[in-house]
């Protein structure tokens, strides 16, 4: 009997990092075949087959892995194995990780031992003080940033911390942590935080994480003033209200080109506007509001045009990193209606990059380029 069972299968090419598989259900059983490994000469630590049952627990798995001989042996994964997810209720976060150090630069660089982030991941910082409440980089706390991975222990985020009010972190300051936003961009385009503005006959906006906007998107700006320093963020002339020219009429702009995942050009002539400035004093961090670019809801263009040569029903996509359409990640939605926001909530399972308990050099999700076939099931009956 399979009245309420759900079955799904598919394949993906591994990046060497955790792989999210979106499904219309959360499976209770998953099996994997790493076809690249199975189709290659046996080599130590390679994982051709793996399985997960919900009764093992989240983040576990059983795998067959090649020993040094090489011969297939059974092993278990107890951390970063296979787990289910439901990305639909606000933001969910990964574990907090201690920040070892940071570097004043543009972009700002952070050292976190074995951070596990890949380029395009979104993170949030907390407690970035080198000296509690008086110095450090707390100006970066509490807003999302897209990570560009440097290596296993270092990454950068798009923020200019070269200003005099930033102090590099060192020696693992107490309370300085970073954590991954597990499922960002649940609804988009939405509010994005501004990291830089280039003024001119058109205005170029850089954001701290992916804006997910397309050409034609209507946007508004909210550049807050800072208590005691009304021009701290600078370009307050962009604010949608109050509009000094036409009082009571919100000032909006349109995206005229998308440079990359976190940069857009808007058709507002900002010639002569005050320069944007992120050099906010640490003392002003309590209660500090951040500069924002907001998608204007009623006339945005979040959908994707169907045209000759395109897929018949292209889903709306996120643009987590990069500068070309090769970086687009499709959502599970059907074709979007132009003028509607995209609901990117989803569920399914995650294949982690965990290692075996015996063969600690093995990687469950394989190495970059491995072709992996998966099968996922949700059973009618399960004991227990």
């Amino acid at each position: 009997m399979a009245e309420y069972s759900r079955l799904a299968k598919g394949k993906f090419t591994s990046t060497g990092f955790a792989q999210i598989v979106n499904l219309p259900f959360q499976p209770d059983f998953v099996s994997l075949i790493n076809y690249t490994v199975a189709n290659s000469a046996a080599a130590e630590n390679k994982v051709p087959f793996a399985w997960w049952d919900s009764n093992m627990g989240q983040g576990f798995a059983v795998e067959q892995v090649y020993s040094a001989t090489p011969a297939l042996i059974a092993d278990t994964v107890t951390v970063n194995g296979i787990s289910t997810f439901s990305a639909g209720q606000l933001l969910q976060f990964g574990a907090s990780q201690q920040i070892v150090s940071s570097t004043k630069a543009d972009p700002t660089s952070f050292e976190v031992t074995a951070h596990g982030f890949k380029s395009g991941d979104v993170v949030m910082f907390e407690g970035l003080y080198s000296t509690q409440y008086t110095a450090g980089m707390p100006q970066l706390s509490g807003i999302p940033f897209t990570v560009t991975r440097t290596d296993a222990d270092n990454f950068t985020v798009p923020w200019d911390s070269t200003g005099s009010n930033y102090t590099a972190l060192a020696a693992s300051p107490t309370g300085a942590t970073v954590k991954k936003v597990l499922y960002p961009y649940l609804y988009f385009p939405g509010v994005t935080f501004i990291s830089a503005i280039t003024t001119g006959t058109t205005t170029t906006i850089s954001t701290t994480c992916a804006h997910n906007m397309v050409v034609g998107q209507e946007v508004a700006f909210h550049i807050p003033t800072v208590a005691g320093s009304p021009t701290q963020w600078g370009t307050t002339e962009l604010n949608s209200l109050p509009n000094a020219t036409i009082p009571g009429s919100p000032k909006y702009g349109y995206v005229v080109s998308v440079t990359d995942y976190n940069t857009v050009v808007v058709n507002i002539d900002s010639t002569g506007f005050t320069a944007f400035n992120v050099n906010v004093p640490v003392a002003q961090v309590p209660g500090l509001s951040f500069p924002q670019m907001c998608a204007v809801g009623d006339v945005n263009t979040g959908g994707v045009s169907i045209s000759a040569g395109s897929a018949l029903y292209p889903p709306p996509y996120t643009f987590p990193i990069g500068s070309t359409s090769a970086s687009f990640v499709n959502t599970i939605n059907g074709p979007a209606i132009k003028g509607a926001f995209v609901n990117n909530t989803s569920q399914g399972f995650v294949i982690g990059a965990g290692a075996g308990t015996a063969k600690t050099g093995s990687v469950l999700v394989g190495t970059e380029g491995d072709v992996i076939y998966w099968e996922a099931k949700l059973h009618d009956i399960s004991y227990p």
Binding site: Q89, A220, G287, F290, F341, T345
Partner: protein, 201 residues
């Protein structure tokens, strides 16, 4: 409701509370934060929901200003209580309770506060790692939801006789076609705050 809540968190612009005293970013709520948000919405020509409540000859009561609505977490109720005497008026101290909603906790200046355990909270995301509460303040014209193609909500129930091979399983579901939209983004703000103290509730 949860879809609309999460959508507003993603799409509406934010103001971080700064009038509190806990040294975090955002701070806990101070009465000046309510004033700032209400002034922002007023400047943006947002429409208020309620026209106000007159004072009455009852001890301990006071008039309530015309107001926007704010949805807050029940976890902030003790913070609101601590603002008594500074501008917070408990719902039971209104001149009349006739227009008060069931979930209404009170008001501060031009904002009437509704509380719910389902109000949005981002756990441990403040500058100091404390919980951040999204207090959504709305004008009347700010948001809407649209039922598409006449697809109004329908409750589906099929009893076990129809859906179970051995009459074992029933089906209970809800389906609807709906879209959320900000009809006027200048008439809505998320006022982000932390709590005065991080005591466990």
């Amino acid at each position: 409701m949860l879809i609309l809540r999460d959508y507003i968190v993603s799409a509406a612009s934010q103001i971080n509370a700064g009038a509190g005293t806990n040294g975090d970013n955002p701070t806990n709520l101070g009465v000046a934060d309510f004033s700032l948000v209400a002034t922002t919405l007023d400047t943006n020509n947002a429409f208020k929901f309620e026209s106000g409540i007159e004072g009455s000859l009852k001890f301990g009561t006071g008039p309530v200003r015309s107001a926007y609505f704010m949805l807050s977490s029940t976890e902030l109720q003790s913070d609101f209580d601590s603002l008594t005497g500074q501008g917070f008026l408990n719902q039971w101290n209104y001149g009349s309770n006739l227009s008060a909603l069931q979930t209404e906790y009170g008001s501060v200046f031009n904002i009437r506060i509704l509380t719910s355990s389902e109000a949005p909270v981002a756990r441990q995301t403040s500058a100091l790692g404390n919980d951040v509460y999204y207090n959504t303040v709305v004008g009347r014209q700010a948001i809407t939801h649209i039922n598409q193609n006449g697809g109004t909500m329908s409750l589906i129930y099929r009893d076990p006789y129809y859906s179970g091979m051995l009459a074992q399983n029933a089906t209970l579901a809800v389906k609807f076609w709906q879209a959320q939209a900000l009809t006027q983004d200048t008439a809505i703000r998320n006022l982000l705050s932390t709590r005065k103290s991080a005591a466990v509730i």
